[in-house]
């Protein structure tokens, strides 16, 4: 993690998590609007809010570049929201926002590294600003210059009686007149009357100079429910505004007299540092849940001296909301907030709040303090005169309490490890050799109870770690969208069963393989042109389906496209050329040929494209999936499409297994791979011309795999009728495994082989890992898939 100021490291994790979530949400909104090709009011607001929050929290973390980029996007959406300009080039807009989102995501990744240095986003910011200006100007043209007739020097006396302010802009920010217009547009809604000088800013670019020289004068009276302060804050919030000073006070409505707003004084924890930025965080959170928010001091974002002011006088926040209690809870939950007091309440809710006040003892000492004493710090007089201190802490009513928490994954890993150890220890105790031959009714009863509880505990811990696949799937929307644009292919991405859950550690390993497969389908799978598709009798629009479902302890994920399919003869030719064939070409089955595309250094595409074709992709897919104990296979019909089928175990760490012995060794066969086990009878044994053995079960013949044979072990018995035959299923096939003896069934915790052993490809030889049994001995867990496919 990059170095943050003292006291900030703890928040850095939270920041990374929050911002990543926000950016993902942003992508989803964009994707949705893009497919509907229109922006709803709500979406625009959502994007605006998202950017605003990122801006605020980035500023708090001291990440100026992030904050500025978010600011630029926010500004652009501000124009879209307020002016509803005709957007001629939707593509450019989406491009700009997507790129910004990508840049920010990349930056978040970087932040988590130790040697972090901020990336320069100025290029992207400039592009966004340029586009925003175009949007703005487009609107200007559409306005048909209604006020063009007014002379430039219409510095007439303002007819509106209200508060007048002088606004100055940052030096060299350029186009001051348009920036001034932005200010006007922003406060238009919250003012009942509004006049400004110079008045022809919209059409006359010369006014920019006047504004630079004289400042920009606004006379306004706040609309109902607004205060002078909230308007001034809105002005100050506008981009590039340097200062806004009151030049004449009118009959503006003082804040507290405003019947609808609630004012709260917030105190932060002692020594929490940077109180102003913490206050900003609170403001951002409150903004998410209610409409108009104003605060004092108002320049917390830029002026670090306000921190001192906040320490001494507290931070005053006014907001308007239907559910003040909910907002108060948001404030209460905000980080570093020590306490808060309500200094004024909406008049209509007052009556019901007072009794509440009487029954609940004031929890915060500050709440009981007379408000007037602290109030002078705030410019607005408390005309209300009746402060109603509100007990902080437990909000009495309304709104469901947040019932989700985020937990560090390491803690969950440790928990799972511990549960695993408990499972082993339980087996050690209950099957202790000391107990052999004893009749212990009570002990057995308690042991059964313990076993039941343990398995419940284990299930719960597992379920905590389960995450739906929808997150991983929806990331693909973005990839498909980008490639659609770049490759000019029209493709629908369809999800099925995205609510299927898998272990968190599995999800993390799934992202890359999924991405590769979707890219492959987009690039190689779907035909290059719509005509090709129509000629093949398919709809012009391609389709990629991501589906997931549970099947006997495994999760199966299928990435299917309805494209041109894989030509086995081409694959074979290519494999021959690359020299990766291990037997004569004619001996390969179609399935084997198809699966060759996942060998290292294979790619059927002649040309290397940006997305795929280097022949590393599918190899990586296979490796990644195998790392989490899964398998990938390919199924393809020429002309009809290709499916990649991924099978992954539901859980990586605890397996229900059947223990069998072969000589000195004990192997564990996962129960979900076992169909049945039995003692073979002589009439069941069949031999082929080479003497290879098969076992006949109810009219079906299965190959016989003698475990001692494939593992070069010394068995206690080679006699098929003395040992035990286990019919196991894997890799889509069934085979009979032959072992000496069945020992029993037990849950085991999978321990991966040490890297030293992994060097020798033990996995390829059908060994998935090992585990420790109750008596301390080690068992090797078999991977039936690999054994059968190898045989």
């Amino acid at each position: 993690m990059a170095k943050f100021e003292a006291g900030m490291e703890a928040m850095a994790d939270m920041y990374v998590f929050e911002t990543t979530t926000l950016l993902e949400q942003l992508d989803q909104i964009l994707m949705k609007t893009e497919s509907e090709s229109s922006f709803g009011e709500e979406e625009i607001n959502e994007i605006f809010r998202t950017m605003h929050t990122i801006k605020g929290s980035s500023a708090m973390m001291g990440l100026d570049n992030m904050s500025k980029l978010a600011h630029a996007v926010e500004d652009m959406f501000y124009i879209i929201r307020e002016d509803h300009p005709e957007i001629n080039s939707m593509e450019t807009l989406y491009d700009l926002v997507f790129t910004a989102s990508d840049l920010m995501k990349a930056e978040i990744e970087l932040i988590q590294e130790d040697d972090y240095s901020p990336t320069d986003f100025s290029g992207q910011i400039a592009r966004i600003e340029e586009f925003a200006a175009v949007l703005k100007n487009g609107e200007k043209a559409a306005a048909k210059q209604p006020e063009a007739a007014k002379p430039a020097a219409a510095a007439a006396k303002p007819s509106v009686s209200g508060t007048s302010v002088k606004v100055t802009f940052e030096e060299n920010c350029k186009m001051e007149n348009l920036r001034a217009l932005l200010v006007i547009n922003r406060i238009k809604e919250i003012c009942s009357a509004l006049e400004y000088t110079p008045s022809d800013i919209e059409d006359n670019s010369d006014t920019a100079d006047i504004i630079i020289k004289n400042g920009f004068d606004i006379v306004f009276s706040p609309a109902q429910g607004q205060t002078d302060d909230s308007v001034i804050n809105a002005i100050k919030d506008c981009p590039n505004v340097k200062n806004c000073e009151i030049s004449g006070k009118g009959q503006g409505t003082p804040a507290a007299a405003d019947g609808n707003s609630t004012a709260v004084r917030i105190y932060f924890e002692d020594d929490c540092k940077m109180e102003n930025l913490r206050a900003l965080l609170v403001v951002n959170r409150v903004r998410e849940v209610c409409e108009s928010v104003s605060y004092e001091p108002s320049d917390i974002e830029d002026n670090s001296d306000t921190a001192k002011y906040i320490i001494e006088n507290g931070f005053i926040l006014r907001f308007k909301s239907d559910k003040p209690d909910m907002v108060l809870r948001v404030i209460e939950d905000a980080p570093s907030v020590k306490e808060y007091e309500v200094i004024s309440r909406p008049s209509d809710t007052k009556s019901e709040n007072i009794p509440e006040n009487n029954t609940a003892p004031a929890e915060t000492p500050k709440a009981a303090a007379p408000v007037q004493k602290a109030a002078p710090a705030a410019p607005q007089p408390q005309t209300d005169g009746r402060p109603t201190p509100q007990p902080a802490g437990k909000a009495p009513s309304g709104g469901a309490k947040q019932s989700l928490i985020s937990v560090n994954l390491n803690k969950l890993d440790t928990l799972l490890d511990l549960v695993g150890e408990i499972v082993i220890t339980e087996a050690m105790v209950t099957s202790s050799p000391d107990l052999k031959g004893l009749r212990l009714d009570n002990f057995q009863k308690s042991a059964r109870q313990l076993r039941k509880l343990n398995s419940e505990l284990q299930d719960t811990v597992m379920s905590i770690r389960m995450v739906p696949l929808s997150g991983a799937f929806s990331k693909m929307t973005r990839i498909v969208r980008d490639m659609k644009v770049k490759l000019g292919k029209d493709v629908d991405l369809v999800f099925e069963g995205e609510e299927t859950e898998v272990d968190k550690s599995v999800i993390d390993q799934l992202n890359d393989p999924l991405m590769h497969m979707v890219r492959n389908s987009m690039d190689h799978g779907i035909e290059d042109s719509a005509e090709d598709r129509i000629n093949a009798g398919k709809p012009a629009k391609g389709k990629i389906t991501l589906s997931a479902y549970n099947s006997s302890g495994e999760v199966i994920i299928v990435v299917a496209d309805d494209g041109q399919g894989i030509d086995p003869s081409k694959v074979l030719a290519k494999a021959e050329k690359n020299g990766i064939l291990t037997k004569p070409a004619s001996e390969y089955s179609e399935k084997e040929i198809l699966n060759m595309i996942m060998l290292p250094g294979f790619s059927t595409n002649e040309q290397v494209t940006e997305y795929s074709g280097r022949g590393v992709g599918m190899d990586v897919v296979r490796k990644n999936i195998e790392k989490i104990g899964g398998t990938v296979s390919v199924d393809s019909k020429k002309g009809q499409g290709t499916s990649f089928i991924i099978k992954i175990p539901l859980s990586l760490s605890i397996v229900d297994g059947m223990e069998v012995s072969v000589g000195e060794s004990i192997f564990t066969i996962p129960i979900n791979a076992i169909r049945e086990s039995f003692k073979a009878k002589p009439e069941q044994l069949v031999k082929d011309t080479d003497g290879k053995e098969m076992v006949m079960i109810r009219g079906e013949c299965f190959p016989l795999i003698r475990l001692y044979d494939i593992y070069d072990l010394k068995p206690n018995t080679e006699d098929l009728y003395e040992g035990i035959v286990i019919l196991a299923e894997g890799d889509g096939k069934c085979a009979c495994l032959f072992a000496d003896e069945l020992i029993g069934e037990q849950q085991v915790v999978v321990k991966p082989f040490s890297p030293l052993l992994n060097n020798y490809n033990v996995k390829q030889h059908g060994m998935a890992g090992c585990s420790i049994l109750g008596d301390g001995s080690i068992t090797i867990i078999l991977d039936v898939n690999n054994i059968i496919s190898d045989f």
């Binding site: 030293l756 060097n759 090992c770 420790i772």
Partner: protein, 154 residues
């Protein structure tokens, strides 16, 4: 403090502690910084399909650790384990643990850095690079083994 420790244990320039053991009558040493513990011979679970010198895995307090027979590694005939046979459990920087089976463990000696000399740079001598350096003690010349090379594939 920690940096100081590692510097002390590094056998190239500074003094270091060396654990000596015998294989087939010859005394070899390994740097003590690799040694996690020394245990008696335990029941070894055979893992199929791995090279012969890796005897299998053992259970050390819930950890599954592979063990290597140094005799087999050096191409010396193996002898039955007796009560002097030991497993020295090595731990590498990556946290990976590997046990090595030796005939018997001798002692730990602090070796002065000027007693250590490099192995000759020749093709036919020490070609598998198991020997890291040569220690010239009063009691005789000893070979210091390279733990990494001993364990990893050459």
């Amino acid at each position: 403090m920690e940096a100081n420790n590692t510097a002390n244990k590094n056998c190239t320039a500074e003094d270091c502690e060396v654990l000596f053991f015998t294989i087939d009558g010859t005394i070899y040493g390994i740097e003590i910084k690799y040694v996690n513990e020394i245990i008696g011979i335990e029941q070894i679970t055979v893992v199929p399909k791995i090279p012969e010198h890796i005897k299998g895995v053992i259970n050390i307090r819930g950890k599954v650790v592979p063990v290597i027979s140094v005799r087999k590694r050096f191409g010396i005939e193996e002898i039955p384990y007796d009560d002097r046979t030991c497993i020295i459990v090595l731990e590498f920087d990556s946290g990976e643990q590997v046990g090595i089976i030796v005939d018997r463990v001798r002692e730990v000696i602090v070796v002065n850095h000027n007693e250590i000399s490099r192995t000759p740079d020749a093709k036919n001598v020490n070609s598998n690079h198991y020997i890291k350096s040569i220690v010239n003690l009063e009691s005789g010349i000893r070979l210091l083994l390279d733990c990494e090379k001993l364990v990893r594939d050459s």
